[in-house]
Amino acid sequence: MNKNIILYAAILIFGLAAPFIFPAFKVQLSILCVLIVLATTWNIQGGEMGYNTFGNILFYGLGMYLCASVQVGMFFPLAEWTESGGEKTFVHTPAQFFQGMAVGLVVAAVIPTVVAGLIGYAILGLRGHYFAICTLGLGVAAGEISGGIEIIGAGQGFTTPPFPNVGGLEARGEFFYFLSFGALVLTFLAVRAIYSTRFKLILNAIRDNEDKAEAMGIETMKYKIIGWMVSAFFCGLAGGIMGGLVGYIDSTDVAFDGREMGVFMVLMAILGGKGTLWGPVIGATVFHVFKEGFWTFFLGWQYVALGVLIVVIVIYFPEGIMGWLREKYPERFGEVVDEADRKAQVELK
């Protein structure tokens, strides 16, 4: 336990100091924080609950649009803003920007949670691949439909309010970094707190055998919906931050980007090892470093590399990094290993 506190403190200090140690990578670090949030929340469904969703992108995109719309709509007419392409006609004062952002993030987190609660009863009744395909359809449908709505920019996109002129580019980077890092810390602590309660055991029971869990008297539907609402809350928050960070929202390429973010979150969680607390964090970090490091080499070929990466990870590495570590050092995961048993295993191989 003592060791853990030192570890957490070290990570926290590193996280707070990171933008000053690596000033050139502030945006990348902020994106990393958002990716970790997404992978961690996906893991609640895909890893702990056994419901492989492609639909968490719905909450992410919803949060993105809501945050930007609230930020604009609080002070200026939204329709005119999107029509004029944003910043040219209306300018946020610093106070307006930060007020708008604060209210926008709250709305961006709360509304997706409500949406998840409302559609949860219908969608979470599906199981296995039906659930996966249904949520895939949900994400794509949201993207297509939001691409046809005029007030949020339709096909031409939505420019989020530009950062006010206080401290220039440096301040912008630091603001968004600390915002996303704060979201990450919040998510991690919340998920960690959840995982130490009975709730996680219920989710695992649902994953292992839902019918038996129900037979044991657990109201599985209630817990599935609560799990999805937790995911939606943090996905929406991450989306709101990402919208401000990117500065431009497009319905299918940024917000409801099932082909990128939607797959990334699944991939990161699987790469790190689903069903563990640290797996998604490690997976997202490795994935992001790989992506940013190699994307420039693959210029133009990044989707080809992504496709190959998905196939390779899924086929050859489905247990992820944490799964591999667990197999290698079972003692460190609190599993008691009998020496004779292990020898027998080796001999069998």
Binding site: N52, A122, I123, G125, L126, R127, G128, H129, Y130, A132, I133, C134, L136, G137, L138, V140, A141, G143, E144, I145, G147, G148, A154, G155, R259, V263, V266, I270, G300, W301, Y303, V304, L306, G307, V308, L309, I310, V311, V314, I315, P318
Partner: protein
Amino acid sequence: MDFMVFQYPMITIQACLDGILLGVLFALIAYGMALQWGVMNIINIAQGDLVILGGYIAYFMYLYGIHPAWGVIVSPFIMYFVGVGIYKLVINKVVDRDLFISILATFGISILFMQLMNFAFGADVVLANSGYGTTFLFDSNVVLPNSKIFSAFVSIVFAICLVIYMKKSKLGRAIRATAQNARAAKILGVDTEKVYAATFGINAALCGVAGALISITFTIHPYMGLPYTIRSFMIVIVAGLGNLPGVAMSGMGLGVFEEFADYLLGTEFRIGSVFLLLVLILVYRRFKLSRKREYLK
């Protein structure tokens, strides 16, 4: 928002005919999906991308001066080997595993294909002009391109050929036996590995035919694959596995639905409405089954 569709019966007839001709094509793709789903228990997200690839083969024949209708013959041949290649490289490693693994792996293949096609053929929307002209019905109030009629006819011919092949030939019997019980088929001397490869190849060939027809009648674009996957998935879950008349009927129903969605909501919501329909169908089935305390699985 065009409500003319209810005031003028001719528009209704037009939409229905368009939808039915389109739906026959969907049914052909869905039949391939039902085949591999039933035999190998795999949901292939790359189905639509195989369709588009087949379409590009026909389009290239058109570019080199060959009539694109010959693509209906050439494209399935090439696509058969593409399908067998995909099977040997990826699918044979996911056949016996969790369904989600196969969904994710084929999703990867889908992204790969999408991007490779984007490099190879460019991101333009293309169409192979067949030069078949149009048919006018009801005092030229209803306009039907002959290419659509041709494509529906060819799809039906291919579907009938395939059904006969599955009933009569040795491989067809082996495929059906494997679908019923893979282990028993293995014991009785069926090389299931070969059957799986052939099934995937036949599915890809069907996609090739459908793609060639789509490149003649509609347009193709590297990123248009996923809607075809979703449509065929939807048709299969409505009709059920191994129910060919059901597949044909629900394919046509989907085609008509799409044409009406196009008229009523506008073209920009067409794809969105297809995906939304999928969600609604699944949710409807879920509520219907939950009354009996069952669930879709």
